[in-house]
Amino acid sequence: MAVETGQSVAPAAGGDARGRGRGTGEKSGKAPGPLRRALATHWYAWAMVAPVVTVIAVIIGYPLLRGVWLSLTNADESNVARTIGVNEIEATYEFTGLENYTEILTDGVFWDRLGWTVVWTVGCVSVTFLAGLVLAVMLNRKLRGRALYRIAIILPWGIPAFVSVFAWKMLFNEKNGILNKVLSGGGIDGVPWLGDPTWAKISVIAVNVWLGVPFMLVALLGALQAIPGELLEAAEVDGANAWQRFRNVTLPGIRSVSSTVVLLSTIWTFNMFPVIYLLTRGGPGDSTEILVTYAYRLSFLNSPRDFATSAAWGVLILLLLMAFAVVYRRSLRKQGEVW
């Protein structure tokens, strides 16, 4: 359909059509490549998305390329070009190749932090997913006041994350926080929530789960409601018990949604800067620093700020996530997921 429209209007579009004609000619009679053909036939679609593509190129593409470039230099706050009032200061940083990368990868700090980042990501995503699924299944039933429950559970989503984190920080306060007041009221010793490395790790994961559950819930609830009731009824008629129905009808039914939200949530959690930075500043010591917060500390708390190393950390993080996404997709495809 789109193809037909494209072709019939193409001559009127001037530029593209001419370009196509000439292009084919210049390629000395070679048949147009698949890209060229796609461009030509879907020119209308391309024209429609052009503004978006341009904006994305400017706000994502350019900074990304610049970040990659900076990671190959020794740029820092004192040698980059900057304009301060009437002073134009020229850039004096140099290309250093992969030096930043070798330095980072040969330092134990990166691997230490990567280890905890993986634990943090897997912990947060799995708990968030399970909690979201359980709540979604519960809310998918017909029960009185369902709308109210839904609102109550989705509400945390509406609060800006940093407000929630500060609220949690107050709850966790070792000396004056309400959690420890409750515990000591019950005759249990207060817990150094953010003061002990292990408890601090549990605390940050708990807060992130709390922040992430509403999203999971909404997504999974939508998926659940898209499962035709007849399927479940048929299974019931066939004698499947509740668990079997859940296992063999519900889970496959929400598979495509859940695989997407797990991927998204993994990427978000991996880079969840605000929760850790605002709750513990990576502390105590550096026990709760994930890759992004550690990169921030390494490169932005010292003076002059080391843009090059920070960019190199950023690129490494990006590569890790891209590798993860590729592997994840491939494994889904193997399971017959159309995605």
Partner: protein, 425 residues
């Protein structure tokens, strides 16, 4: 905004956390034909909750003297101010015209070209009037980049009533504090609050053992020497012997609350905490209950770091003339005198110490001799960066994840990395 800098996913996250950077300075004014100043002066103040109303009021009074100038007062939380200023100053947009800069920030900002040199401008008014140790922090490579606002140092704050009930003398050393633990038991009071989250509060322990972070004269890193190790040891011992409680997060709130409620009898703090402390349950209406004494000594003597704040002017300000005038006004003897009267903060001008109200001020009477003996920190560009490794290692020691020896060694290694390029040993 050419400098979109380390523009990766990382920076997006940072931007989120740092929030939008500052306001905009739309000051367009120079002097108009009559020689009158005009335009807008945006002033970033970093003072705390108990102090900010006063500084806002004073800053805005500048408009009365210079009707053409509009002062835009912005209070920036101290902890974020340095980063926020750097984002704005390096990015070329949103930086304030005048900023209250902590003493360690001046050399840092100046080395990056963010500050306007103030020699031979109206901003410096009566250079010889300033205390020499306060003036030291305004210099970078032979030029003046700031004008001192207040000077301070750490001291021992104590609750007179609690000490009396326990029958304890004001401690002279950290050992005295440790030995007094039992005497406070019947009151259910812990003797001391130890800041476990703020590296600045490590310095009295470090100086007390005869050490320092660096020796700027011989360009040697000294944090990993014996005194550095002992400083960590003393702090850990205080906590382990239950002479002190500590916290590796929220230290300021918890310390103030514990002290104001009489849960701890002593803490280390500076003049900036006086207003807030006096508002507490134990001191409200009976200010005499607050005692201040010199920081306790370690095994090698006593010492506390010299701190304070300056005013500096952003080199890219559109409104330099008005900014210079504003700095001159804010650091004037008159404003300093009022600051002392209202907030018990220590002036940086010798002439202000001659004023009767300042002479009579109890806190000044105590803190002035302390300031005179305070240890000047190395005023180098990396001076401020030295604290972060110390903060991490302090928490590691207090939570028992590392030994004092390893902590001092690690801090030394990080310093070596920070000072890379200089000829530091």
């Amino acid at each position: 905004m050419r400098r979109g800098i380390g523009t990766t996913a990382l920076v997006a996250a940072i931007a989120l956390a740092a929030g939008a950077c500052g306001g905009s300075d739309d000051g367009d004014g120079k002097k108009n034909a009559g020689g009158e100043l005009s335009g807008t002066v945006e002033f970033w103040d970093t003072s705390g909750d108990a102090e900010k109303d006063f500084f806002k009021k004073v800053a805005e009074e500048f408009e009365k003297e210079h009707p053409g100038v509009e002062v835009k007062y912005v209070n920036v939380p101290f902890g974020e101010a340095s980063n926020k200023f750097k984002n704005a100053a390096g990015g070329g947009a949103g930086a304030p015209d005048v900023m209250r800069t902590e003493v360690a920030w001046v050399a840092d900002f100046a080395s990056l070209g963010y500050l306007a040199p103030l020699d031979d401008t109206v901003a410096v008014d009566g250079k010889d009037d300033f205390l020499p140790q306060a003036w030291g922090s305004t210099q970078y490579e032979g030029k003046t980049y700031a004008v001192p606002q207040v000077i301070d140092t750490l001291a021992l704050f104590y609750n007179k009533e609690l000490l009396e009930k326990a029958g304890v003398e004001v401690p002279k050393s950290f050992e005295d504090i440790e030995n007094s633990t039992g005497k406070f038991e019947k009151e259910g009071v812990t003797p001391f609050y130890l800041r476990g989250d703020d590296p600045y509060f490590v310095l009295p322990f470090l100086y007390g053992e005869g050490g320092d972070m660096l020796d700027a004269d011989t360009k040697k890193i000294t944090i990993d020497d014996e005194p550095g190790v002992r400083a960590f040891e003393v702090m850990k011992d205080l906590v382990d012997s239950e002479a002190a409680i500590t916290d590796t997060t929220d230290g300021w709130e918890n310390m103030q609350k514990a002290f104001k409620d009489g849960k701890v009898a002593m803490m280390l703090n500076g003049p900036w905490a006086i207003e807030d402390t006096l508002a507490g349950r134990q001191f409200k209406g009976r200010e005499d209950n607050l005692g201040v004494a010199a920081v306790p000594a370690g095994s090698a003597g006593q010492g506390s770091p010299q701190g304070g704040h300056n005013y500096s002017v952003y080199a890219g300000s559109d409104n330099l003339d008005a900014s210079y005038e504003f700095v001159k006004y804010m650091s004037s003897a008159e404003v300093q005198k009022r600051t002392t009267e209202e907030l018990n903060l220590l002036p940086t001008r010798t002439s202000v110490y001659e004023e009767q109200t300042v002479k009579d001020n109890q806190m000044v009477q105590f803190f002035k001799p302390a300031v005179d003996k305070a240890v000047e920190r190395p005023w180098i560009a990396q001076g401020n960066s030295l604290f972060e490794p110390l903060r991490v290692q302090l928490a590691e020691v207090l939570t028992g994840r590392t030994t004092p020896e390893d902590a001092a060694k690690k801090a030394g290694e990080e310093y070596a990395e920070l000072l890379e390029g200089g000829d530091w040993k």
